[in-house]
């Protein structure tokens, strides 16, 4: 019974979304649309509760369900193991809140039913990635994710959106095409003839040793292939462009679900298919690690240069995703755990940041950083949450980001001391330390690009000048020029948007202050798979 | 010259003819000449086949005066093939000629390049 239920959370939202699409014509009237929205929310919530129940019911034992046989040994199979339950839990936590947020954000949109339909479908597909029990299933849902989400990117239906969608599709499918090589290779070299995930890898050691260089080459291809969704340099360009989508999409999909699926896929592929024993200390490891580091450096620098609010956050996402990939590329238990904790932390931080950006855009129509002067007083709660997420992104202690950064650097340094024996050659001796340096550089850049927004919002730089110019009636003048400081106009969005924001902020702090339980759980995953 | 070259004269001729026909069919711009090339090519093959089937000093495989031993006749299969081939080639030629006529009526040219050019111009006019 338990096993059979595994498929439900995946297919329930997909079916619901499809039904919604089919009924598109019926939902015309405003009132019906409200009902529709709450039904969607209820469904998503139920689904999340189901996931929670499944995770709780799992309790270490890993249930699995073979849905059907695609071809030969290729089965579509779901499995609830620790790693899958971690990602599934994360997604299930975020989705209902994001849907709630979307209600208000999309309230003036004309094609809401289509939006919610695809949004809900994406939920199921993302859970599919999380719960996939073998590489084929994961690949399948990975591809489906591309197609479930591209209508959302295209939602604004502008030329810009179409261009972004096109690029998104090309990149994603291109990536999947290379990941496919990895899939086939794993299938061919598999010890069992299947592609099921096995902690520590599942390649046939003898065959693998024989064709080691070929396998490493394929690994690098597949890393970049899956890495496309995780926006690895030089395949990152779609992500900032995709910021054209409605904010709930950018926030949930392009900061969490889709991109994390990419990172999750890389982790699965590295730790559960190829196995770290084969990869550690090889040139392939250094290549992928270097790619991750280049991405971090590049993206955080670009984020500083970017003045569009959402695009800046998107660049930040790129760099943070490569934190995860950096963790993945360490090929060690600590690295895996660190990657996963950053996956968690970044999910909350970035969705929160994007939601704030969305709230600002939705309520004031401001898209660019330089328009945000004094917004901190107009939308106090929103910007409080934004500040928390910014600090966390920077890796300030007591916030979740610090924990993940700490874990990553700890993992990198222990890799460094491991490699100092010369196991990874000259490159291997330098890379881990270089990684730490890059992370710190990126943290500084994060500080620059996030806090400059915060400072601008709370401390608009021109108030005094306005005052001096106008003389006595300074405050009124300041209010009149739209700085909003002290003018008491509260433009905070309604609870639909604020509730998710506040919950995320609380989670960020909770994880930042007491991460022990989470880390212990992740250490288990790392221990079994590293 | 290799002595075998003189022994297989028919084959050589047919190969040369095949090459001539093939080249004409492929490269000539004039449709009629293309068709002629095709026919030359086909004919070359028939020559080849006929030469293969022919056995020195034997008769046509047609029953004229009662049943005779098979050794009296040349191999009948290639002859049959040639006949079939001729039928096929005639019908193909007919079809191509018909097509050529249609094209000529439409574009007043037999030159394939010319036809393509006038076709493009015609389409542009339509747009």
């Amino acid at each position: 019974m338990y096993d059979r239920l595994l498929a439900v959370p995946v297919f329930l939202p997909i079916a619901a979304g499809a039904a919604l699409l089919a009924m598109n014509g019926l939902i015309r009237r405003k009132k019906r649309e409200r009902t529709m929205q709450w039904l969607v929310e209820a469904l998503v919530l139920i689904n999340s509760l189901l996931v929670a129940w499944l995770i709780a019911g799992c309790g270490g034992r890993s249930g699995s369900l073979v849905l059907f046989r695609l071809y030969g040994q290729l089965t579509v199979m779901f499995k609830m193991d620790r790693m899958g339950s971690f990602f599934a839990g994360l997604v299930a936590f975020l989705w209902p809140l994001a849907t709630l947020y979307a209600f208000e954000y999309m309230e003036h949109d004309e094609r809401r039913p289509a939006f919610f339909a695809f949004y809900t479908i994406s939920y199921g597909v993302t859970l599919g990635v999380a719960l996939a029990g073998n590489l084929v299933t994961m690949y399948l849902f990975y591809e489906m994710l591309t197609f479930a989400t591209f209508p959302l990117v295209m939602h604004p239906m502008t030329t810009e959106a179409a261009r972004a969608t096109r690029q998104y599709l090309y990149y994603s499918i291109g990536g999947a095409a290379f990941a496919f090589i990895g899939l086939v290779t794993v299938l061919s070299y598999s010890a069992t003839g299947t592609t099921g995930f096995v902690p520590g890898g599942m390649l046939n050691p003898a065959a693998a040793a024989e064709h080691k260089n070929f396998l490493l080459f394929v690994y690098v291809l597949a890393f970049f292939g899956f890495g496309v969704k995780a926006a690895i340099f030089p395949l990152h360009d779609w992500l900032p462009k995709a910021a054209v989508a409605p904010t709930p999409v950018t926030a949930l999909l392009h900061a969490v679900a889709v991109v994390k699926s990419g990172a999750f896929a890389v982790l699965r592929f590295t730790y559960f298919s190829f196995g770290t024993a084969l990869l550690r200390g090889t040139w392939a490891q250094w290549v992928v690690m270097a790619a991750a580091l280049v991405t971090i450096t590049y993206a955080s620098t670009m984020a500083v240069k970017e003045v569009h609010f959402k695009r800046r956050l998107a660049y930040s996402t790129i760099s943070n995703l490569s934190y995860i990939l950096f963790g993945a590329s360490m090929m060690s238990p600590l690295g895996l755990a660190a990657a996963l904790i950053h996956l968690l932390a970044h999910a909350f931080m970035k969705i929160s940041a994007f939601f704030c950006a969305g709230a600002v855009m939705h309520h004031t129509g401001k898209n660019y950083i330089y328009e945000l002067d004094g917004m901190g007083y107009r939308m106090p709660v929103t910007f409080a949450c934004f500040t928390i997420s910014s600090l966390s992104l920077m890796g300030i202690p007591l916030f979740a980001g610090f924990i993940s950064k700490w874990s990553l650097c700890e993992a990198a340094l222990s890799l460094g001391s491991e490699m100092s024996g010369g196991a990874g050659g000259a490159v291997g001796r330098v890379m881990p330390y270089l990684g730490v340096a890059v992370i710190l550089y990126s943290a500084l850049m994060t500080g620059i690009y996030m806090l400059s927004v915060v400072v601008r919002a709370y401390f608009p730089g021109f108030v005094q000048q306005v005052k001096e110019a106008v003389g006595g009636g300074g405050e009124k003048a300041a209010a009149a020029t739209g700085t909003g400081i002290k003018d008491g106009v509260n433009q905070d969005p309604s609870w639909l948007m604020l509730l998710p924001l506040v919950i995320f902020a609380v989670v960020i702090i909770a994880v930042g202050v007491h991460a022990g339980p989470v880390l212990r759980f992740l250490a288990l995953i790392g221990g079994e798979a590293g | 010259m290799s002595p075998t070259l003189m022994l297989n004269l028919e084959e050589e001729v047919s190969m040369v003819l095949f090459g001539v026909g093939f080249t004409m069919l492929l490269l000539h711009r004039n449709l009629i000449k293309k068709i002629m090339g095709m026919n030359i090519m086909d004919t070359a093959i028939y020559l080849f086949l006929a030469a293969k089937g022919y056995i020195e000093g034997r008769g046509v495989p047609i029953l004229t005066d009662g049943v005779q031993d098979a050794s009296a006749y040349i191999n009948p299969v290639p002859s049959g093939l040639v006949l079939t081939g001729i039928v096929v080639s005639v019908s193909t030629t007919a079809l191509m000629l018909a097509l050529t006529i249609r094209l000529y009526e439409r574009y007043h040219s037999l030159d394939l390049d010319q036809i393509l050019i006038s076709m493009k111009m015609e389409e542009e006019e339509q747009l």
Partner: protein, 505 residues
Amino acid sequence: MRVLLPVLWPIAAGAALLAYTGICNSKKKASPGTAGHGRITALDLIYIAALALETVLVIAAAAGGGSVRLLSLTDTLTLGLRVDSAGSLFAVLTSVMWLLTGIHSVAYMKHEEWAERFYGFYLIVVGVLVGIDYAADLVTLYVFYEMMTLTSLPLVLHELTKEAVQAGLKYLFYSVGGAFLALFGIFYLANVCGDLSFTAGGRFTAEMAAGAPLLLTAVFCMIVGFGTKAGMFPLHGWLPIAHPVAPAPASAVLSGVITKAGVMALVRIVYFLVGPDVLRGTWVQSAWMVLALMTVFMGSMLAYRENVFKKRLAYSTVSQASYVLFGLSLMNPVGFTGALTHVVFHSAIKTCLFLFAGAVIVVTGWKKVDQLRGLGRVMPLALACYTMASLALIGIPPFSGFVSKWYLATGSLASGTGALGFAGPVVLLISALLTAGYLLPIMIQGYFPGQDFDGKEIGERGLTKKEPSLLMLVPIVVLAAATLLLGCFPGPLVAFVEKIAAAVM
């Protein structure tokens, strides 16, 4: 609880204050800070009371000792506070300076907007600073260090001019950058050492150091990183820009106290975690000494050429903070004693000087040095205090600066670092001359403006004999007196510091 209170109380009080004003703002009430212009309000009193209570709590904690565990971030990362003598020295110094400057700020903020916001953050920062001083391990220290950067930021860009915001951002980015540089060292030490709690004399033995190839690099990163806050070259660029744009009380504590947070961090790392024995005689020590000396000289030189009064003081801080760092880099007890005593002295002196500058701005509105001619006619008493503080900073006996500089110079000569050890006193001497060159002319021009000075402006604006208000004057006088007293009777302080030095070396 006794350890926790001095950290928690001001943070809570400050947060409450901010929340209260926030609520007032949103209800469109008149904000409490600006109400009753020029008079002392209940809010001001509460604020001063909170600061006074904080001083009491810190002293109580220092007297009582003890330790407390705050949080466990992860299974290996725990945050805790522990009172020890070095921490107590800094904490008491901080809270006293804070109280005095706080009193001054009440008067000063009558001329500024958003006083309540200033009060709120001002309170929070002192809690955070005490947190740094009492931190039981490096991670805790780092936590409070970052918090300090963030919470002191609103003080820097308080005036919200474009210039102030720019300066604030510069402050922020330098500090954060420095902190992240230091973080590399923290990561590394955590990886090598595991336990990062402070012990006098350090945790590293020679074998452990040998097993950690990057240890020296890590320490150097931390020195440069935490040195940012103390304005050490090469990350000093923010200081002369950020300190002057803040309101004078904020400048005073930024220069006088917050720079010492960087010093505190370095004391903890070098003397309580890594251990001076590991570092002595390595390239790290030499590099550190060179950097410190360069900063000393450069700061003085720039101060000498600077015309804006507060900026000149800020450059002076660059120079003086590096005296302290130089003392620490010597890694011998004498140098250490000099450094820590200089912390106390410079703190008092620089706070006094900045408060004086603030008073000048409030009373006359003058900001540039060449405007200050004839200041003696306006505020003779305050200028007298300024003179005392200046003399102390130059290091003229019997003022306090002399004592610390003496220790620094002897420490340098005894450090066994060869040429650098001899270069130290020379640079200190040159810097002292420059210090005299940039501080004393103000006094001289103030009292003796010269023949051509007609004092017309002073007369016209009715500034004659217009001392700053009592709230401003008292802290200045107290601090000036302290410089003299500490210089005359340095015994107890030196003894206290020497005890710490003995413990760590």
